[in-house]
Subunit: 327 residues, 4 copies
């Protein structure tokens, strides 16, 4: 059974490029933990380097985790939130920046270990390019793989999970699609290297998220972690889970079961204008409702729909299930 | 209450540019009618010029309509299916082609009138351009409006409805979006000129289909007709109604009620690989399920969701309605 | 002949939602002016409310403008950069916010007048919605038009220009496309109300920017202002002018001439990772090169390409012009 | 130095789903060859199974190739143009169809060998799915790889090249992106298995085509063949080479050189409304102009642009090169 977690910043305030000071007041670390603890279905939390984890506050974090009885699910090192990363982290032209990217990751790995967590999820959002004739794709991708490889080798008991995204903040990311992430993992060739699927990132790359799960199963059982949200396909809108895609989210949860995914399901939303705690709560409840719906539906019926592959039969099935209330 | 109809070709065979002879055997006119009549919820049919309506078969069509007790809902003149239209119909550079576009429309208007129908739905799919520096946008758009205006003036008792689409078969269509259609209608300035919303075309233009309904209400109550299908937003996939967008389709039906739309809801799907009759049947049943769901839900509850505009509250509401089976 | 200007913030530092403190150090107002003055081809500047213009610094701004011999081209009131606008400005559910949006605009109109400028360009980026079942499209759009109308009526000698954009920061904006902007203008029905085309926003809406210029000519000669940049079509990347679209930008400049546009061409780029002054300089030089290329090419040749509309002939022409260096 | 070729059907007539009989008269095989031979820069031709190559006309084809002194560059087996493939070829649920897909490929391999050609380019356009809950991604992808593997093993002296495309005619293709194609090739694990890049397909998947070339170099030097055209990114418009993307096409040609690509450059356009021979001629001349431009530009200058990765410097360089005529 999947457990639910939240990226801690999700219950805080969001900013964008037009409103850089934030849509709401900044929320202190202690308060972020307190808010997450208000959602009974949540048993874990995900932290971001620099934003939440520094080399000096591990003890404080341990205290919060224990106080609220929350499991640390993963740390996301900061490879995107400081000016030094602006032209890349692992794939930067500057050797000192590349070394910094690796070192910061190692620090976060140590922090994770100390906090009883075995997963570090990398989102190298600044590794990529914006313009044509700007990047030496071969050289930069090689640097990227070497750097990540070094972090994988640092501690074999820590799982390093790569979160792909086709664009933003760069117009083109190196770690772009599920298949590109798998190629990178094969190149890195370390057993503790896997993939984080962000449901919305998969949609942005015109992937069917359920098929992305299947691909990770097929090529080495590499699904390590899941971030949940929703969007209108063209951009990473980071909306409340299930608010746009009903059947597609259901198919995603179905394939998580089918492939035996045992990891966490983490909320990754950007509730710019919403009460952030309520938005996260609804995201969690949506995940729970999708799972409980799958509990009620005989698995063999869904297997059979796929076996015959008849679109009219599937349409009939989901119409009755979702619209007619025949559950 | 809305009534359901079908574009006749939808129960036949489809082709595409790689399989021009069709994914299935061609289906004769009589058989198309027979198939439509097999769906009890359907009481009307929509015909396409050239494909179904010629200047010689009106009597035959009347016979089929009467035999199967089907209402003719609209005729879609052929402004797209013959080589002569390849560079445009109403907006063609050639005066003789422009006149032909108008004349064919008048013939279809007469045929519609004779068959007891008061709606002709124009889809000028070849009016547009493919390349930059190819079109004189001002001149061609003027020809377009003048031509359509002439058809509106031909018979004041016939409603002429413009179906917009942002692209395909041209890379750029003139009648591109709901707002562009409204501008064109204002220019034409005839009371019998309105708009056909194709649900999928709205999605392709990054419109929220429910908002497109509202815009047509706002600017002169111009929604004359509706074509239903679904897609993945980027292209006019013409899939079974409701197969991708659940909440968005529900919002569309809600706004049809809210704005007092009394017209037909017509299936416009391209079931390339499906049993076409079964695909249409499922599309019709989906429309009916969306409508019946709205019958069960207190309208005041949905009005209230919109009044407060709280995304978390809406997410909670639709989660319970669609996933938890609380109806 | 067009004159070139710059939105003042373009030579400063940019932030995004992941790096909210900015990719570079903040740049003081005086320094921003000094930088713009370093580009000899630039003779005007565009200011943003709150960011650059307050109710107390008009005298200071006048001093800078005079010192650097820069014309104030427009003021863009702040309807997007403070938390109070998060659920809309002119279209907000709250009457007090709507009044605030109007009042702030009037203040900016007064400031513009005092600084010898006759254009205020509105970008109501927060007016729209994110989720389905969130907005009363009819009510909110009515509020929007009424508010803008009030600002148009405030001073008839000030031109109010509406900048449309299909999304961001909302997932769906009300002022979405060139045609929607024209509908809104017709509703507002004031002669001093027009449109600002942002080249990149047009691309994001799958418009051909040159056609957007033609549409504004056709429906009342309403092109008041132009913002220049470039992108990969799917998102408002705000890149250097001409860096992606060569022929399309040329066609845009050609249609500006053809329709007699006499206004300013303003750089609107977000140089997150670039030396911002150099990025703006290249944008300006690109605009100048497009214009000088059109000076060299006989206008009759381009007119003829459009008259015949032959894609192969156009391809041949631009290949020779751009690739073969036959100019 | 690259040599230029043409897919034979490109000089014929095109159809689409609305005009299935074709935008022009059908063109006989002999005439297609005669037309290609009219373009002096073209020295090769690519043929399509069923459309051009049958089990009975190899002698006739040999005669044409010799008569017009054209090299057979590749055969594209027909896995998309007959109703039997409608639910897939290599990945079909039906074992007999899967066997048929393999057998037809073997026949085309034999035909290619007999005609002195060492490349067969597979475009398995019907292998994929349209709806969610329709496909067993694991099973179908396994069938796909096994089938292609069998064709690779059939004759080791024949190169089998996989052309990826993210969608159309299915809403989702299995062989979707350059990275997915590489994963598939690694799974197949045969040295004679590579990739065909279609420039437009790369754009449709939000790839930078030049980076796709680099990826194929990086992971095993697997670029076997290139199809050239252009589009507006969102769909496979199959327009004349260079008609939309100038700098991006130039970067693509630059990376072909940088990675030592020695293969053919084949036109793959769909000139629905153009004189098809003239459209192909312009496509070929565009390829030649891009190559000749690269001949004139010192390679070290472009290498340096990439080494420093300064967007403003690149913008300056290409502005002078393309717009200012400084070559």
């Amino acid at each position: 059974m999947n457990r639910y977690s939240v990226i801690l910043s999700n219950v805080g305030s969001c900013a964008d490029r037009f409103l850089t000071a934030g849509y709401d007041e900044p929320v202190a670390l202690a308060e972020l933990f307190r808010r997450v603890a208000e959602i009974p279905q949540v048993s874990g939390v995900e932290l971001v380097g620099s934003w939440h984890v520094t080399d000096r506050n591990v003890a404080e974090l341990k205290k919060y985790l224990e106080h609220y009885n929350l499991k640390l699910v993963s740390i996301i090192p900061d490879h995107f939130g400081q000016p030094k990363w602006k032209n890349g982290s692992f794939a930067s032209r500057e050797a000192v920046i590349r070394a910094d990217a690796v070192n910061h990751t190692k620090e976060m790995i140590d922090a994770a270990a100390e906090l009883g967590c075995d997963l570090v999820s990398l989102w190298p959002g600044q590794d990529g390019y914006d313009y044509v004739f700007q990047a030496d794709y071969l050289q930069e991708r090689e640097w990227f793989s070497l750097g990540v490889q070094e972090t994988c080798r640092y501690r074999k008991d820590m799982r390093i999970s790569l979160e792909y995204k086709i664009k933003e903040p760069r117009t083109h990311s190196y770690l772009s699609t599920v298949s590109n992430a798998l190629l990178t993992i094969m190149e890195i060739s370390e057993p503790n290297c896997g993939v984080t699927i962000d449901f919305g990132h998969a949609l942005n790359a015109y992937e069917t998220p359920a098929e992305s799960v299947a691909l990770l199963k097929k090529y080495g059982d590499r699904l390590f972690h899941v971030h949940m949200n929703d969007n209108y396909r063209h951009w990473d809108d980071d909306m409340i889970v299930g608010s746009v895609h009903t059947v597609e989210t259901l198919e995603f949860f179905y394939w998580l079961r089918k492939t035996g995914y045992q990891g966490w399901l983490s909320i990754d939303q950007y509730p710019y204008r919403e009460d952030s705690l309520e938005a996260v709560r609804q995201g969690v409840l949506a995940m729970d409702s999708f799972n409980r719906l799958l509990d009620r539906v005989p698995e063999a019926e869904l297997d059979e729909l796929i076996r015959i592959g008849n679109a009219a039969a599937s349409a009939s099935y989901f119409r009755k299930l979702l619209l007619d209330g025949v559950q």
